[in-house]
């Protein structure tokens, strides 16, 4: 059962939230960031090349141009491989753990799995980010030394910064699953 809804990120960009429910205690949220827009790409490339051409006209050295081409290519590759995140996935498996996957534009994926034993809670938090004050979803990890404390806070959907309504949706289902978890672990 897969549901797709459209939200917007804090810059007003378009975000698509896919919500797959595999079973009552296993859900997946898949947040697709807007793709790399051709306009910005061309803009960046053109600026670099224009600068290069300016330099070339100044010092009659064709090395500049080839260097510019290489720089743009390498920059694009690096950007796609290390910076541009296409999709962020949050997989919650009740009583097993929470898994965060962010897949880059180049197809590289980086995954972090947090076991339920370590998760204290999933909350929506506020932070000052650049010149904004934003909401973000985060996972609070238990402090093994003293169980009440929080040892660390792991942010979710860090690259695509969705707005509050989107976060609320994700947050609700997280809370449902966590609630089952809490109740069952509480009862025996």
């Amino acid at each position: 059962m897969e549901v797709e809804r459209i939200f917007s990120d804090i810059y007003g960009g378009r975000l698509a939230l896919q919500r797959r429910q595999y079973s009552p205690f296993c859900r997946e949220f898949c947040l697709g960031c807007p793709r790399l827009s051709l306009r910005s790409l061309t803009a960046a490339t053109c600026t670099v090349w224009l600068v290069a051409y300016g330099l070339f006209t100044l010092c009659q050295n064709s090395m500049v141009l080839s260097a510019a081409i290489f720089i743009t290519l390498l920059g694009l590759l690096g950007y796609l491989h290390f910076v541009k995140i296409d999709q962020e996935t949050l997989l919650i498996i009740g009583s097993l753990g929470i898994q965060m996957t962010s897949s880059y534009a180049s197809g590289k994926e980086s995954t972090t799995f947090i076991e339920m034993g370590k998760v204290k809670d999933v909350v929506i938090n506020e932070a000052i980010y650049m010149q904004k004050v934003i909401y973000y979803l985060c996972i609070l990890l238990k402090d093994p030394v003293e169980p009440q404390g929080v040892s660390q806070v792991v942010p979710v959907f860090q690259s695509a910064k969705p707005r509050l309504d989107c976060l609320i949706e994700v947050y609700r289902s997280c809370q449902e699953i966590l609630a089952l978890q809490k109740v069952t672990s509480g009862s025996p």
Binding site: Y22, T111, T112, K118
Partner: protein, 621 residues
């Protein structure tokens, strides 16, 4: 049987208690299930870790470990028909003795390839009465469909449950070989987090599989009483070379340790204890490097076994880096000693030193004139210039005295390349330090002079303003001086102020030279440290067998249909290269500057000695 089955039985009892408590709510709560999640009353989910290699095995018994606190079952192998229950229990108890894991029969596995015969099914059911376990798993796989059905029978509740079960497939081989790194490496580090193994269930699963290695030692060809299916059932992996190496390693280690102890004893002998020798010994980076390597060798070839995985890793890393180092060194050696390159080098060396000296002389001449139109005090300028010129003169004569022997020295020094590239490099840096010794002296003189001036000026400036430094309160107080104090203070202040530019210029020039030298030496040291500290073995491991170093796991949801248990595939999430390096990097001896850039600049301004950070300057002062 009573005796032998004791372990399994009481184990079964032991685990029956919490499960039994769990039982009734689950079974009853099932009825309202299926409606909206809010009204859905949850239960503890049962997790079954199933080795993917057993998915095609024939029907039989599932043996593995039951982890009650997480309500999860780790299936290790499948026992095939035909077997005698008594023998199974006996075998299990033996395995248990060897590997401290309580392995029990968890349930039945029926893989009906041909059309489904129910007599087998009911036979499996009443197996449950023989091997008492709570809950009793029944995993069955129909022909064709990849969705299995998994029932759990419990004594109190007879209704089999479906969707409270998660089937987690795992690759047994990888899980057994990999070692799970503490999560604080994979997440960004948090010092406080040390998770006990029972706290994190995955660690429990991993070490269950890892410990029960004994179980996998029997493949299907050896004629035991019972037949198992697991990752090695097609044949146990083993390589003759490894075995031979294991055999051979012991005497080799003995021999080398003996040698090493001899060498180190030599190093510890009395001659090196006397002052000048020990001092120089401590100053030369070559000796440092050699000592460091000796330590490594002693560590690698020590007879006592590495008690934990980290130790083993460390040994391997050191060994590999040693090998690489020596290999590079020998390469260099072979290059050096072909067609008299040493001779050319030696001939090149003296002129270079001369050239440097001459350049310095010119520089001093320039300084003694009116450098860059600066207003220098002529008298002081002349004095300083002459002093330094004389110094250079001494230096040149020394070099020329040395020149005939240079080649021979180089030849012998070159031999040391067989000790490894790092040794050669450190020797190089030492030679460089010796050849630029005069620059160092100049720097020290200039710095001392400048330092004196600065401090004098600062205190006199306070007097000039009618203030004084209060030592008790650590602050500047106002104070009334006598007339003569004021007069003399101001007189000195004026003189120092007008003499400052001269000294400052000398200081500046020689500091720049010194910095140049220091930077070159620093680069060499960086290279040495890189070779020393890089954990090559770990990196290689990460490169070839990425699952051996696991940062954690990641799950993939396999496609599924309604009413069937959720199927996940557990993959191993390899450690990132960065964290590999920062986990396994070997400690180095090198002394890097402790101070930040700001403090460094401050030191430069106040004319304190920047490098070496400890007492290498004492030789002249």
């Amino acid at each position: 049987m009573g005796l032998l089955s004791g372990g399994a039985a009481e184990a079964g009892q032991g685990q029956a208690i919490p499960a039994g408590l769990l039982g009734p709510p689950r079974s009853r709560r099932l009825q309202p299930q299926g409606s909206a999640p809010r009204s859905w009353i949850p239960t503890m989910v049962l997790k079954v870790f199933f080795p993917s290699c057993c998915s095609s095995a024939d029907s039989g018994l599932l043996i593995g470990r039951w982890i009650p606190e997480q309500n999860s079952a780790v299936i290790l192998a499948v026992v095939h028909f035909p077997f005698i229950p008594f023998q199974v229990k006996q075998y299990l108890s033996e395995v248990q003795k060897v590997s401290q894991v309580d392995i029990v029969v968890l349930g039945t596995w029926c893989n009906n390839k041909q059309e489904k015969e129910e007599n087998l099914g009911k036979f499996l059911d009443d197996l449950g009465t023989i091997f008492s376990h709570e809950p009793w798993l029944q995993i069955s796989k129909e022909k064709g469909s990849k969705f299995w059905s998994c029932h759990t029978l419990s004594r109190q509740a007879d209704t089999p449950t479906e969707d409270q079960v998660i089937l987690v497939y795992y690759d047994q081989r990888k899980v057994m070989l990999s070692r799970l790194h503490p999560p604080e490496i994979s997440l960004d580090n948090q010092p406080g987090v040390i998770t006990a193994p029972d706290a994190s269930k995955l660690a429990a699963v991993f070490d269950t599989v890892a410990k029960s290695e004994v179980l996998f030692m029997t493949d299907r060809y050896d004629d035991g009483p019972i037949k198992l299916t697991h990752w090695q059932s097609e044949g146990v992996e083993a390589s003759i070379i490894v075995e031979l190496a294991k055999q051979a390693s012991v005497p080799v280690c003995m021999l080398l340790t003996g040698l090493l102890s001899l060498v180190s004893g030599l190093c510890k002998s009395r001659i090196f204890k006397f002052w000048p020798v020990s001092f120089i010994w401590s100053k030369l980076s070559t000796c440092e490097q050699v000592r460091y390597r000796l330590e490594h060798l002693r560590f690698v070839f020590s007879n006592q076994k590495a008690e934990n995985q980290n130790q083993l890793m460390r040994k391997a890393n050191i060994f590999v880096s040693l090998l690489v180092d020596v290999a590079l060194g020998i390469l260099l050696l072979s290059w050096l000693y072909r067609k008299n390159r040493i001779g050319q080098l030696a001939d090149a060396l003296i002129p270079v030193a001369d050239h440097v000296a001459r350049e310095l002389q010119d520089l001093l001449q320039w300084l003694m004139g009116v450098p860059a139109g600066l207003k220098m005090n002529r008298a002081l300028d002349q004095v300083l210039g002459r002093f330094f010129l004389y110094h250079i003169h001494l230096w040149i004569s020394y070099i020329h005295l040395l020149s005939p022997f240079i080649e021979m020295i180089l030849w012998y020094v070159g031999l040391s390349a067989c000790l490894g590239l790092t040794v050669v490099l450190s020797i190089l840096s030492d030679i460089f330090a010796l050849l630029t010794f005069h620059i160092y002296c100049f720097y020290v003189y200039g710095a001392r002079l400048y330092c004196l001036k600065i401090y004098g000026l600062s205190s006199l400036w306070r007097l000039f303003r009618g203030k004084k430094w209060n030592v008790l309160r650590q602050r500047v107080d106002s104070c009334s001086y006598d007339l003569d104090q004021l007069f003399i203070g101001t007189l000195l202040f004026t003189i120092l102020l007008f003499l400052l530019p001269t000294t400052a210029l000398y200081y500046l020039v020689f500091t720049l030279l010194r910095l140049l030298v220091v930077i070159v030496q620093g680069l060499i040291h960086l290279l040495v440290d890189l070779i020393d500290s890089l954990p090559l073995y770990s990196i290689g491991l990460r490169f070839c067998r990425s699952y051996r170093l696991a940062a954690g796991v990641k799950f993939r949801v396999l496609e599924q249909e309604e009413g069937r248990p959720l199927r996940l595939l557990m993959q191993i999430n390899p450690l990132s290269y960065g964290s590999v390096v920062q986990t396994y990097r070997l400690p180095t001896y090198s002394c890097y500057p402790k101070d930040t850039w700001g403090s460094l600049c401050k030191k430069l301004f106040f004319g304190e000695l920047i490098y070496p950070w400890k007492q290498k300057g004492d030789k002249q002062d």
